[in-house]
């Protein structure tokens, strides 16, 4: 597809480091006195999909707003490709596309005009063929002459993505892209994000849907009360904090665990029909073999077994809740 060729970002300049965005000591206190960000340090790698996880009010949108120019930082600095986001805002903002959380649209504008407007606003010359490519990719081409007010919520969301991509940004911010979006569109959007990443676009998304981060992200950052709690490779995070559980369904219900079998990692279900064993899947000895042996010795017959690993959501909840308030 021709327009896709446009979207290839220029290769990073020689000597550019791996981090496309560096946030250093960023602070934000609103006029009301509310401290939305406490000294945030964050580095985003070139070409990655980074998911910023946090509950409502954790500071996700403030952080994005500060990088994109919507929020005036109270302290610290932001570097994008080595350019300071305040002093050199033109260079920084030309690289960034922002898809806001709310469906902010000009109801009476036509779809095509509003996307062309975005391109011009970001300093790019007209390119109807490129706009056509974006609209086709987001299944909006058929609607190009419609007024925005006539679009469904899902189409408006796609339109906002089209507007954000109109100036061929190399960094795309998606603020809560799945808010109020149905499952099908969410899948479509995820595919779109993967396609963009394949073209070299760095993507930062905020979400409180763990599923979304789990599905898409290379790395995950968790923000709570204006502080970054951790930044980790998603897989590492899940491995490091992930517990695996082995559930054993018993042939005969047990009243209590026999002495030879009982241990802190093992719990008996209330109905006595199943046992749950928690283990670390990374360790040399998971203890599973020993457990099964001791069960056999105690004459306990296992009918079926299943394992599961803790989801990012459980990890997230334990991180956020586990912190002293």
């Amino acid at each position: 597809m021709r327009p896709a060729a446009h979207a290839h970002p220029a290769p990073p300049p020689a000597g550019a480091d791996d981090f496309v965005i560096r946030v250093e000591g960023l602070e934000k206190t609103y006029a009301s006195g509310f401290k939305a960000l406490e000294t945030v340090d964050l580095a985003i790698r070139r070409g990655e999909i980074f998911a910023l996880l946090g509950e409502n009010g954790a500071g996700k949108s403030t952080l994005i707003g500060a990088i994109c120019g919507l929020v005036r930082p109270s302290g610290g600095r932001i570097l994008v490709d080595g350019h300071d986001a305040v002093a050199d805002y033109r260079a920084v903002r030309a690289k960034i596309g922002l898809v806001p959380q709310e469906l902010h649209v000009d109801s009476f504008e036509r779809v095509m005009d509003t996307v062309a407007f975005s391109r011009g606003l970001f300093g790019k010359p007209r390119d109807p063929a490129f706009i056509e490519g974006i609209l086709r990719e987001l299944s909006l081409w058929e609607k190009r002459n419609d007024k925005i007010i006539a679009l469904s919520g899902g189409m408006k969301r796609r339109l906002l993505i089209a507007k954000a991509l109109a100036h061929e940004p190399t960094i795309l911010f998606l603020d809560e892209p799945s808010a109020g979006v149905d499952v099908e569109l969410r899948r479509e959007m995820w595919q779109m994000v993967h396609r963009l990443r394949a073209r070299g676009v760095t993507i930062i998304l905020t979400t409180h849907y763990i599923e979304e981060a789990e599905e898409m992200a290379d790395r995950v950052g968790v923000i709570n009360k204006g502080e970054i709690l951790l930044v980790e490779e998603k897989t590492t995070l899940m491995r490091k904090l992930g517990r695996r559980e082995l559930t054993l369904h018993l042939r005969e219900p047990l009243a209590a665990l026999p002495d030879g079998v009982a241990g802190p990692a093992l719990t008996l279900a209330e109905d006595g029909r199943s046992l749950t064993y928690v283990f670390d899947s990374q360790s040399e000895d998971t203890g599973i073999a020993g457990l099964l042996r001791s069960l056999a010795e105690a004459g306990i017959e296992v009918r079926d077994l299943a394992t599961s690993e803790s989801s990012l959501e459980e990890i997230f909840v334990s991180l956020v809740r586990g912190r002293p308030q």
Binding site: A31, L70, R72, D106, F108, G120, G123
Partner: protein, 253 residues
Amino acid sequence: MNLNAIRAIYLFEMNRFRRTIMQSVAAPVLSTSLYFIVFGSAIGSRIDTVEGIAYGAFIVPGLIMLTVITESLTNASFGIYLPKFQGTIYELLSAPVSAVETVIGYVGAAATKSFLIGCLILATARIFVDYTILHPLFTAAFLILTCTAFSLFGFIIGIWADSFQRLQLIPLMVVTPLAFLGGTFYSITMLPEPWDTVALFNPVLYLVSGFRWSFYGVADVAPLISLAMTGVFMLICLGVVAWIFRTGWRLKS
């Protein structure tokens, strides 16, 4: 200079005017025509002349000023208030666009529109009354300056306003009275003491007076003072706009 951005904003605003052509053009032309019929023809026929000018012709410059001021304020304030209200301002704030470019785009479009309406009313007035223009260059200069200055003022109002009510507040409560009392329908020499002196504190008087001078060569105040006052008003507005963008007042949190 991000010329593409200026063009995008300017065309976006002009496009908005085109969409609302009825309110934008027909309404001011209609209401001014009514003024001509009522004040110019019906009542004006009972009034002899004002400073040697037929009353119908005397009110032409004032009426154009009245309309141009109101239109500039309304267009410019609405133009920047609407994105704030809709939330679409996020895009402008996140774009590589400077304050100067933003102002040229928004204020330029609003001023263009009110300038066109001013010209249209001038043409419409021809249907009702006979007038002359002695100093056409001054006419154009006054018109352009006024459109620009009041579009800037409107831009400030649009940024200041946090509701549609407030958006209407200054145009209705301050500017319309000032325009009516600024000698649109009369010469301040017709006012008794102390009102003729009080009138000198009305900035709109200088616009109307100067503009009328460019038509007929008669004025309440010296035309160069008028021009200077308009210029000063524009500079004040520019200063406020510069401050707004430097501090992010009412734009950024």
